[in-house]
């Protein structure tokens, strides 16, 4: 993701808009205190982050909000009957074809987290970073130079499953979802933080 320079060249109104978005959480995805909002907005803007939501044009979520919420609750160990049922029904009826369908391969909450990314036909290189809480951040560069997109996978097993798909050894040769990955592995890499690049 290309870094931005020239924060001071932005108009005061624009800087204030990003600061308010950072405070509300629409800029980075999580709200922050008013004291830290300005520095958060600056750091996020400088890092080249996605500004569409802060401008009031958030991209349409690729999974319904209740499903995303259920996936987040499940990944945090708060999943109850409702979350389990929501994820299960979504997986069986509405999950995109490029999501591995097998529960032996990928958990429902991991599938919902993965589905928050766009179709893999547009993926460039992919980066995995383990978090302190055991979850894994997955950042996908876009082929066409658009904003990077990211999702949080619930555990290492989910990250390993996605890496397996990216290595072309996923949930079975007869899976139709391979078409969406095309020949991704021929022209792109994934890497895991603090390890050598794996292709």
């Amino acid at each position: 993701m290309a870094k931005r320079t020239g924060w001071r060249d932005l108009s005061q109104a624009t800087r204030d808009r990003y600061t308010r978005a950072a405070e509300r959480g629409t800029l980075t995805g999580s709200p922050t205190s008013s004291n830290r909002a300005r520095s958060t907005a600056y750091n996020y803007w400088r890092s080249g982050g996605d500004l569409r939501a802060a401008r009031g044009h958030a991209p349409r979520p690729s999974v319904p909000t209740p499903v995303a919420a259920a996936a987040a609750a499940s990944a945090e160990g708060r999943g109850g009957n409702l979350e389990a049922a929501t994820l299960r029904v979504w997986r069986e009826t509405a999950a995109p074809g490029w999501i591995p369908p097998s529960r032996a391969f990928l958990a429902d909450d991991a599938a919902a987290a993965l589905a928050q990314l766009p179709n893999p036909r547009g993926w460039g290189n992919v980066h995995f970073t383990p978090q302190d809480d055991g979850r894994w951040r997955m950042v996908v560069e876009r082929k066409n130079g658009g904003y990077d997109v990211q999702t949080i996978l619930p555990d290492q097993a989910a990250a390993k499953a996605v890496m397996a798909v990216l290595s072309g050894i996923g949930p079975g040769d007869d899976w139709d979802g391979w078409d969406d990955y095309g020949d991704w592995w021929d022209s792109h890499d994934f890497d895991v933080a603090d390890t050598d690049t794996v292709s």
């Binding site: 160990g77 999943g79 555990d155």
Partner: protein, 495 residues
């Protein structure tokens, strides 16, 4: 760990069964027949000639040390205080046990050859019982799967089969019911968790899902048997099923759900884990091996031993040791030293054994122990119960794997402890060829059948006689009040 179909083709080997001939000779049975060797050089050449065979022992494994007359040439691999293989160090020959499956077989060579053919039809070669069990299963996995759960959670919930008695005494007019192919059937019955996810305490304990829960459960009064197993404080070999108290532990969802359906009250959930990824790990395996249990004689018993051994592969723990003898005669106390430090690859699959044993205990509880239509059994052992003759068992009995069947009548039963009993069967010809003599002998002195778990049939009688009445164990009760327990509640999984 990742488990999938074997990448290499199986090594198909011929078999050989060896035993001691005389005091130090070698008897070798192969598909070509029996060969006896007595001289030391002949014995050595005989053992060397078996390289490339799957070699088993007829009789006790450690008796191999007498072959060749020099016990120092042999060493045993020991796991959990049991010899699992013997190696003849000069030739490198490894000898394994078939766990007594061919004992009493009229034609063991034919049975073994039949078993070998059945095994090779499934792409698996001869080996140790647990290796054959593992390979038969792996051959049926469609693809590689990752199985990874925390043994800190699953290990405390691994209790094994349930054993209990109503009292150590003699009973009249009893019958034995058993659950046919209990373990493999329950393994193939429902999917297993491959990984877990911590979930809210409000999540229902779905008996059909392989979740785990740490909970406090109140077991009511008025029950003939307790509902949930607990490990005895300070001694993890002892398991208790307390009644009229609140028990706390880690159990599978299915087992807690069965206890609740039998009257227990779920007081509090301390931690709850649902399957995150799950798969039908054993369905294809069972469909592939079930027919083998019907093979004749020892071949069927071998298949049964191999299929029954699979769940135990996931429960293995402990360290390996090496046993040696420092005298040629091998009569001295063996020397036991630490074995090679091999990590156990199955340590993070323990929950498969935990869940399997819980399923069988739950069937036992729901079908028999808490069934108001049946009298309380006088003896309970894993997948079998002995109860009063005349009880209407038709409602629970069926035909085929996974159903209860009336196995035999026991006009007289003498129970000394859980898993230690003897009985007189209702076959008046039993043990006698002449019907008239049998009838007379039966009146005078009935033929007893002895049953002691984990002990070969030939030794069961002696062990039974050495077991003092009444059964049970004298234990200190460091935490639980003595009034909560009777010796009938408290049993050891391995007496």
């Amino acid at each position: 760990m990742n488990v999938g179909p074997p990448k290499r083709k199986a090594t198909l080997r011929p078999w050989a069964v060896i035993s001691v001939h005389g005091t130090r000779g070698l008897a070798v049975t192969t598909v070509d027949g029996l060969v006896l060797r007595t001289r030391a050089l002949q014995v050595h050449q005989g053992l060397a000639g078996l390289t490339g065979h799957a070699v088993y022992v007829g009789g006790r494994l450690t008796e191999c040390r007498r072959i060749g007359g020099d016990a120092r040439a042999w060493q045993a691999s020991v796991w959990n205080d049991k010899a699992v293989s013997m190696t003849h160090t000069p030739t490198g020959l490894v000898v394994r046990s078939l766990r007594g499956t061919l004992e009493g077989d009229t034609d063991p060579a034919d049975s073994l050859e039949l078993f070998r053919g059945w095994l090779e039809d499934r792409g698996v070669g001869l080996g140790s019982v647990s290796a054959m069990a593992r390979n038969l299963w792996r051959r049926t996995l469609p693809t590689e799967v990752e199985i990874d759960t925390d043994p800190e959670l699953s290990r405390p919930a691994l209790f094994g089969g349930r054993q209990a008695i109503r009292g150590a005494r003699t009973y009249q007019h009893q019958v034995l019911l058993d659950l046919e192919a209990a373990y493999p059937f329950e393994m193939a019955n429902r999917p297993y968790a491959l990984t877990w996810r911590k979930v809210s305490g409000s999540r229902s304990l779905d008996p059909d899902a392989a979740g785990m829960v740490a909970a406090s459960v109140h077991v009511p009064t008025g029950l003939a048997y307790g509902l949930l197993p607990e490990r005895f404080p300070g001694d993890d070999q002892l398991v208790a099923y307390r009644r009229a108290t609140t028990v706390r532990g880690v159990w599978s969802w299915g087992e807690v759900a069965a206890a609740v359906s039998c009257g227990a009250e779920l007081v509090r959930i301390h931690a709850n884990y649902a399957p995150a990824t799950e798969a039908d790990l054993f369905g294809p395996w069972w469909r592939n091996v079930a027919d083998g249990r019907a093979l004749p004689r020892g071949a069927g018993r071998l298949v049964k031993a191999v299929t029954s051994a699979l769940w135990g592969v996931f429960a293995v723990r402990g360290e390996s040791h090496v046993m040696r003898w420092d005298t040629a005669a091998g009569n001295s106390e063996p020397l036991i030293t630490a074995g090679p430090n091999r990590p156990n690859p199955y340590v993070r699959t323990c929950h498969l054994a935990t869940e399997t044993t819980a399923r069988v205990r739950s069937r036992l509880l729901a079908d028999v122990l808490a069934n108001p239509a049946l009298p309380p059994p006088v003896h309970v052992d894993t997948d079998g119960v002995i109860l009063r003759k005349g009880a209407d068992v038709t409602a629970v009995c069926g035909t085929g794997p996974g159903t209860w069947r009336l196995k035999r009548a026991m006009p007289t039963l003498e129970v000394k402890a859980a898993q230690v009993y003897r009985f007189v069967c209702d076959d008046r010809l039993c043990g006698h060829r002449d019907p008239l003599a049998a009838a007379v002998a039966y009146q005078a002195a009935p033929v007893w059948h002895y049953s002691v778990a984990g002990v070969p049939a030939s030794m069961a009688r002696d062990v039974f006689r050495r077991t003092s009445r009444p059964g049970g164990y004298t234990v200190e009760l460091p935490e639980w009040p003595a009034a909560d327990l009777t010796t009938d509640d408290l049993v050891s999984p391995n007496p």
